[in-house]
């Protein structure tokens, strides 16, 4: 039974790679290889990022004879990243899967359902934690040399970390399921809860460099403290160096932990999944209905979908939350910002305007609601296809949502920057206009990805929102574009004025936006009709 369920879970997990939703048939071998290579490439980019972090730490730690502390630190980063990466994925996968009713109606032990579902969470956690642990061990072997005990230790460490990530995210999922049964405004509370977790994560992440610097400066002291006061962390560290006792002990603890969480989930899974959440029946009150135009109705529909799903809000509307925080930050820290910007502008002429325009654009790049939007139609696709609306209207309404939840906040940030910073008039124009243009570009790009790589057959909406190739490419593409916008200025700063550079970026962005829009108008409707 478990084997069958695992097969089903695998099929769902890898469907995006093997199945071409546009042609509704198996992807060609070349297509599969292409897709797999794309995944590998994106994974390598992330591995490269964390590899740099590992390089920063490893040299110093090994010289100080604190190899174990290197492993402890990187393991903690991996557990944090992995757990937050798969945060709420376990909740959606375990408790909100659309095929729960079907599976529970069959003579399948709930323990098998849990195990098969946890596999998906495990793979995701393994991907996230492996992104850090893999460069961690490779960098260590290059720096300190490879030995058999260390080889075994590192393999065990990677395994342990992936299981601990699973244990933590499963526990969080279980806790969220319990909480959500007893609260009325689940969506709001879950969204806030996720934002709080994410806020903590972002604070840690953005201060990682200084935290690491502090670590490295006081590594010996920290090492002593951990060894004496938090012994389990020391044990985790010496697994990587190949300590046999630590390897065995950690394996036992990991297996016991994993079994404990599995037993906990198994005990209440049936009652949690079949329980009726606390909902308030509303007594219908007849009221005057509001009439909207076709496009407004479609955009409102998209917006209703967006605000109905905490996962959708958190994963695809994060930029909006950041922009609100950034706006408050700008108001509070405006004097410091002006001082820093003026100083930098003296060192690199024009950088203030470029950084302001690109900074506001960077915040916009974190919203990608258009990218999973076609996939999210799922089984409801028949509705818009049977209505007298053109495919183009449907598609543009999806891009409009992204613009709607991004542009006003981008404008707010841009306006604040224009007021706070001593910019020239021409630069002010670019600080306002360029982020807005980039917002439209990202919405169009996300929409294009959505129609190029749709996945309409999912049992859990976390799949199109978080695990689809369309979302990954849209998000990475946006980030790379913004990074390119900022970094390209430095080699040109001496010869180009800021407004000449910003004019060039604006023209490129405009050309890209128009080109993608042209594709959407010309080719996307046909693809949509064929879905």
């Amino acid at each position: 039974m478990l084997k069958l369920l695992l097969k089903k879970q695998f099929m769902e997990f890898f469907r995006g790679i093997f199945h071409d939703a546009n042609k509704n048939r198996k992807r060609s071998t070349a297509g599969i290889i292409g897709y797999a290579l794309l995944y590998v490439f994106l994974e390598l980019v992330l591995i490269g990022m964390f590899g740099t972090l590992a390089w920063m730490m490893c040299d110093t730690m090994v010289v100080l004879d604190l190899d174990w502390f290197y492993f402890t630190s990187m393991t903690l980063v991996a557990i944090t990243f992995g757990t937050f990466g798969s945060l709420f994925n376990s909740y959606s996968t375990l408790y909100l899967a659309k095929d729960n009713d079907l599976l529970l109606s069959m003579p399948i032990p709930s323990s098998d359902i849990i195990l098969s579902r946890l596999l998906g969470t495990y793979l995701l956690g393994l991907m996230y934690s492996g992104t850090i642990m893999l460069p961690t061990v490779v960098v260590y072997w290059i720096t300190a040399g490879i030995s058999l005990p260390s080889l075994i230790g590192c393999i065990v460490l990677i395994f342990n970390v992936s299981v601990i990530v699973l244990v933590l995210s499963a526990l969080l999922g279980w806790a969220v399921a319990k909480i959500s049964l007893h609260i009325k405004n689940r969506n709001i509370i879950l969204t806030v809860l996720q934002l709080v977790f994410l806020g903590i994560y972002m604070v840690v992440y953005t201060n990682l460099q200084s935290i690491m610097q502090g670590f490295l400066e006081k590594a010996v002291l920290f090492g002593l403290f951990i060894k004496e006061s938090v012994y389990p962390l020391y044990l985790i560290g010496i697994i990587g160096t190949g300590n046999p006792v630590a390897i065995l002990a950690s394996l036992v603890v990991t297996v016991v932990l994993a079994y404990g969480v599995y037993a906990l989930l198994n005990r209440s899974f049936l009652s949690d999944v079949t329980a009726t959440p606390k909902t308030e029946r509303k007594k219908y009150r007849r009221r005057k209905l509001q009439r909207n135009g076709i496009f407004t109705a479609l955009v409102k529909k998209e917006f209703a979908h967006f605000i109905s799903s905490p996962a959708y809000i958190i994963n695809c509307g994060l930029g909006t939350c950041f922009m609100v925080v950034a706006f408050v930050f700008l108001l509070i820290k405006r004097n410091d910002l002006v001082t820093m910007a003026v100083t930098l502008d003296k060192m690199i002429p024009g950088v203030m305007a470029v950084a302001a325009a690109c900074g506001a654009s960077a915040l916009a790049c974190m919203n990608d609601s258009a990218a999973p939007s076609v996939s999210l139609e799922g089984k409801n696709l028949w509705i818009v296809k049977s209505l007298p609306v053109s495919p183009l209207q449907v598609l543009l309404s999806k891009a409009a949502l992204q613009i709607l939840i991004t542009a006003p906040f981008v404008l707010l940030i841009s306006a604040a920057l224009v007021v706070i910073l001593p910019l020239q008039i021409i630069d002010m124009f670019f600080v306002i206009f360029l982020p807005l243009l980039v917002t439209v570009l990202f919405a169009m790009f996300g929409l294009m990805m959505s129609i190029l790589m749709p996945n309409l057959n999912w049992t859990n909406e976390i799949v199109p929102i978080k695990q689809s190739m369309a979302v990954v490419i849209a998000l990475f593409g946006n980030m790379l574009y913004v990074m390119g916008m900022i970094l390209s200025y430095f080699p040109l700063a001496e010869t180009w004025t800021s407004y000449a550079y910003l004019t060039m970026v604006t023209v490129i962005s405009l050309i890209l936006t128009v080109s993608i829009l042209f594709y959407i108008i010309k080719c996307a409707p046909r693809r949509f009709e064929n879905l």
């Binding site: 048939r25 909902t279 029946r281 509303k282 007594k283 219908y284 009150r285 007849r286 005057k288 209905l289 509001q290 009439r291 909207n292 135009g293 076709i294 407004t296 109705a297 479609l298 409102k300 529909k301 209703a304 979908h305 109905s308 799903s309 799922g378 089984k379 409801n380 696709l381 028949w382 509705i383 296809k385 049977s386 209505l387 007298p388 609306v389 053109s390 009709e529 064929n530």
Partner: protein, 234 residues
């Protein structure tokens, strides 16, 4: 109202609908009968404009579904066999959305929504999320959404599945009244007694091919529709 000529649709090498031709006149309730996988849903989805087809033509009130899909969809409503509606909306939001798309004015939509939801006794749950509705309630909502913009042609795939006896009775009355006003309905069903009593004409489809069509009397002759169907299936 509806004219299908030489409709063919394949899934890979399997021909789901094979050179199907039929005509539905104004005022007719047309039943579409066939075994599971015979091609009924594929035909209905092709007419509704939500599935591409390789060969043939479909015209609705003189408009080709391939060349003028929007003109066709403006005068048509489709109710699928499984009412997957927007679960993130409430019932009233969904009906208002449909009315917006079809440009139904406020007072008319208000009157129609309440007339039909009162009939199906779902008015008091209109503010609840569709996700909390039972299958039957979703089916009723889908039916109301089809009626509120007063189309000329309604396509229904197994419309009676999930409806309670009272709602089935009301739906039959609505269908009759709708066609008596000069409109047309094409619906698929496995309930042959319903087809026999309700339909003006029936079409029997087997392996994607139309094997018999005509008025109920012409098709069944002296026996029942069930016996004719079973005979043709063998």
């Amino acid at each position: 109202m509806l004219e299908i000529n030489g409709l063919s649709k394949s899934y890979g090498s399997h021909k789901a609908v094979d050179n199907l031709s039929m005509r539905i006149a104004n005022g007719e309730i047309h039943g579409f009968i066939g075994h599971n996988g015979a091609g009924k849903t594929t035909t209905l989805r092709s007419i509704a404009g939500i599935m591409q087809f390789e060969e043939g033509t479909i015209t609705i009130d003189g408009h080709s579904i391939k060349d003028e899909p929007l003109a066709c969809k403006k005068i048509m409503a489709y109710i699928p066999d499984n009412p997957d509606l927007y679960e993130f909306m409430s019932g009233i939001q969904y009906l208002n959305f449909i009315a917006d798309i079809f440009g139904v004015d406020v007072s008319t939509r208000d009157e129609r929504i309440h007339r039909y939801t009162d009939l199906f006794e779902i008015t008091n749950v209109l503010d609840d999320a569709i996700s909390s509705y039972s299958h039957g309630m979703k089916q009723k909502l889908a039916i109301v959404s089809a009626w509120i913009h007063e189309p000329k042609l309604i396509l229904m795939d197994e419309p009676f599945v999930g409806l309670d006896p009272k709602a089935s009775h009301i739906l039959k009355q609505m269908m009759r009244e709708f066609c008596d006003q000069g409109n047309a309905i094409l619906f698929s069903t496995h309930v042959l007694e319903v087809a026999e009593k309700l339909c003006d004409r029936v079409a029997i489809i087997k392996d994607g091919k139309l094997i018999r069509s005509g008025t109920v009397e012409e098709v069944k002759g002296d026996s029942s529709l069930e016996s004719v169907f079973l005979e043709l299936e063998d």
